[in-house]
């Protein structure tokens, strides 16, 4: 009897020890290293809405002064930045265009790869996967030459469109890959059943397949939209005229000018720009995660 009593005590101590170690591991691996992330985003919000901030994140005094860029032009000495709204439209154009192109191209290709039998299918899939893994950004210099050769450089709106098409092309293999996955997850039988019941291929596609893959299209579209919205390097390198900058490029330049001087203004501007991303992320977290698992660059 006595022996057993000691055992229980020992086990209890072991469990307690384990619990403490577990809490410590969670603390040192997951919680403490996340402090900079907390600081960043709490600070971003605090800075954007308050007139005075202590220790970077404790706000005092609510103000909308930092958001003045929404109704007036940003000016620094003699340097005048273009109005925020056309710039926002540029970003929107870039993002929506990318989303549209990628969804169209990837939807078609994904369907063919998943549902059709043709010679070189496996090779094609291998190639697409290889492209998806390949870091396309190293091709930037060549793309610059290409845009120049095609006469798309230094032409304002046309250059922006060029950036959009390039961005879409770089995102397309990944999109095709994801769409293929979505088509794969729909059993053949459903399409067969529709065909047997007298639908033609187009009706079967529209009435049966489309509703099932719609989430896939949505996911690819959202993902491409966010990629276009966040696009920086190509736009920064290729677009000369400030009138045709997307938000990312303008913010980059404004940060260079205003850092150390007006953090609140920069925070508000950054928050304005990051807002669509955050909103999309909240609403489509599950889709996005599914895509991220499929692989992402960065």
């Amino acid at each position: 009897m006595g022996k057993k009593y000691i055992d229980v005590k020992k086990i209890k101590r072991r469990i307690l020890l384990e619990k403490i170690t577990k809490v410590l591991v969670v603390l040192f691996v997951a919680v403490i290293p996340s402090i900079p992330i907390w600081l960043m985003y709490l600070g971003l919000i605090a800075q954007a809405f308050s007139s005075k901030v202590t220790v970077g994140i404790i706000p005092s005094g609510f103000t909308l002064k930092n958001w003045r860029f929404l109704w007036s032009t940003i000016q620094m000495g003699l340097k005048k930045y273009p109005n925020i709204w056309p710039i926002t439209m540029n970003s929107l154009y870039l993002a929506l265009g990318t989303a549209l192109l990628v969804t169209f191209v990837a939807g078609l290709a994904g369907y063919a790869l998943s549902r059709m039998e043709f010679r070189g299918r496996t090779k094609m899939m291998e190639f697409i996967l290889a492209l998806h893994a390949f870091p396309s950004i190293v091709l930037l210099i060549a793309l610059f030459v290409l845009l120049n050769k095609l006469g798309l450089y230094g032409k304002g709106f046309i250059t922006l469109t060029g950036v959009m098409i390039t961005k879409a092309a770089l995102e397309a293999p990944m999109g095709a890959w994801i769409m293929k996955g979505f088509f794969d997850s729909i059993p053949w039988d459903i399409e067969w059943a529709a065909l047997v019941d007298g639908c033609n291929r187009l009706t079967a596609w529209r009435k049966v397949i489309l509703p099932l893959v719609l989430p896939g299209f949505a996911a690819v579209a959202v993902f491409a939209f966010l990629a276009g919205w966040a696009e920086f390097i190509m736009a920064f390198t290729f677009i000369r005229e400030d009138r045709w900058w997307p938000l990312s490029v303008m913010i980059y330049h404004v940060i260079g000018e205003y850092k150390f001087i007006d953090w609140g203004f920069l925070a508000a501007l950054s928050l304005f720009y990051a807002l669509p991303t955050i909103i999309f992320f909240i609403f489509s977290q599950k889709f996005l995660l599914r895509i991220y698992v499929g692989g992402v660059k960065g």
């Binding site: 970077g56 996967l129 893994a133 210099i141 092309a169 913010i251 920069l266 990051a274």
Partner: protein
């Protein structure tokens, strides 16, 4: 008639694939060709316009760029070291640290909400647009006013300028990219851990195994493939990732002082800051070559089918 039908059946897939193929040829294959071509020329900002307009005699073919890359450029050795440091360090964060992070988040934290909250927090650096993320770091470590600067200063670490003083600047480069990369590993690992059959863990528990023993003897061995996947995938993207370095440092002078000039950004500066397009392309070509070799290697190691399902677990 049947012949025609056959033909159209054969053509249909290619019609569906045509837009993608056109895009790939124009924006992937052609640029690789251009990169190779440029490497053998002497195109700089001086003859660039003539080169673009295809004026005869605008440029010459030369091997000079390769001579530079293989020893003529005195800075190459240091850049190679920095790239190695960068890729190696960020990779270990992405592959190993994020493993500990995932186990802590999905297995040690039992509260569902807390676990989700931690995952979302760790995902933020990845989903935030790069420019905003970079700005937030500039702000965090701004001398005196930055909250992280103050935090470190309180612990006695207070360099004049985090951005320009080695080794702090290099530490910063690794950490900034590490936070983005950690979530990649985290996503892959957490979904892998979640797909481990509950029975396996329960059986071990019945046999009296502790959570640590389970993590060590069950979870870790099962994560071998996902880990290999994360390492190989991230190596590829890391050799070419320079967006954050460009956003934080912005000029060749700054990265040189800070010791953050990796190959990829060196190519960018050479081309777009100094106008040495041909030499920049040569540096890029080195990265393209490394990328292609690695991809071939991965296909050999993994086999196509394993790559197709990166997060599948083999029990």
């Amino acid at each position: 008639m049947t012949r025609l039908k056959n033909l159209s059946r054969k053509m249909l897939p290619w019609i569906f694939l045509a837009p993608l193929i056109v895009m790939i040829i124009l924006f992937w294959v052609t640029p690789v060709g251009i990169t190779i071509f440029l490497s053998f020329t002497n195109v700089t900002y001086k003859n660039f316009v003539k080169f673009v307009h295809g004026i005869e005699g605008a440029f010459n073919y030369t091997l000079e760029n390769f001579n530079k890359l293989l020893g003529g450029d005195p800075y190459i050795r240091e850049i190679a070291m920095i790239t190695l440091l960068y890729v190696g360090s960020v990779l270990s964060i992405n592959a190993f640290y994020s493993l500990a992070l995932s186990i802590a988040i999905v297995y040690f934290i039992r509260n569902e909400y807390l676990s989700t909250l931690m995952r979302v927090i760790w995902l933020l650096p990845r989903i935030t647009p790069a420019v905003v993320y970079g700005f937030l770091w500039i702000w965090l470590i701004a001398p005196d006013s930055g909250p992280l600067y103050q935090l470190f200063a309180a612990m006695g670490i207070a360099p004049q300028n985090w951005l320009l003083e080695r080794p702090y600047s290099q530490f910063l480069m690794i950490v900034v990219n590490g936070y983005v990369g950690a979530s990649f590993g985290m996503i892959i690992y957490t979904s892998a851990i979640k797909s481990i059959p509950e029975d396996l863990i329960r059986a071990a528990k019945v046999d009296g195994a502790s959570d640590f023993q389970i993590a060590k003897s069950i979870i870790l061995p099962l994560l071998k493939w996902p880990m290999l996947f994360v390492i190989s995938w991230q190596t590829l993207s890391l050799i070419a990732s320079y967006e954050q370095i460009l956003i934080l440092w912005g000029s060749y002078g700054a990265t040189r002082a800070a010791g953050t000039t990796v190959f990829a950004i060196y190519a960018w500066f050479k081309a777009f800051e100094m106008g040495e397009y041909a030499y920049g392309a040569t540096v890029s070509l080195l990265l393209v070559a490394i990328g292609v070799v690695l991809i071939f290697l991965y296909f050999k190691i993994f086999g196509f089918h394993k790559l197709m399902q990166p997060s599948k677990i083999e029990v």
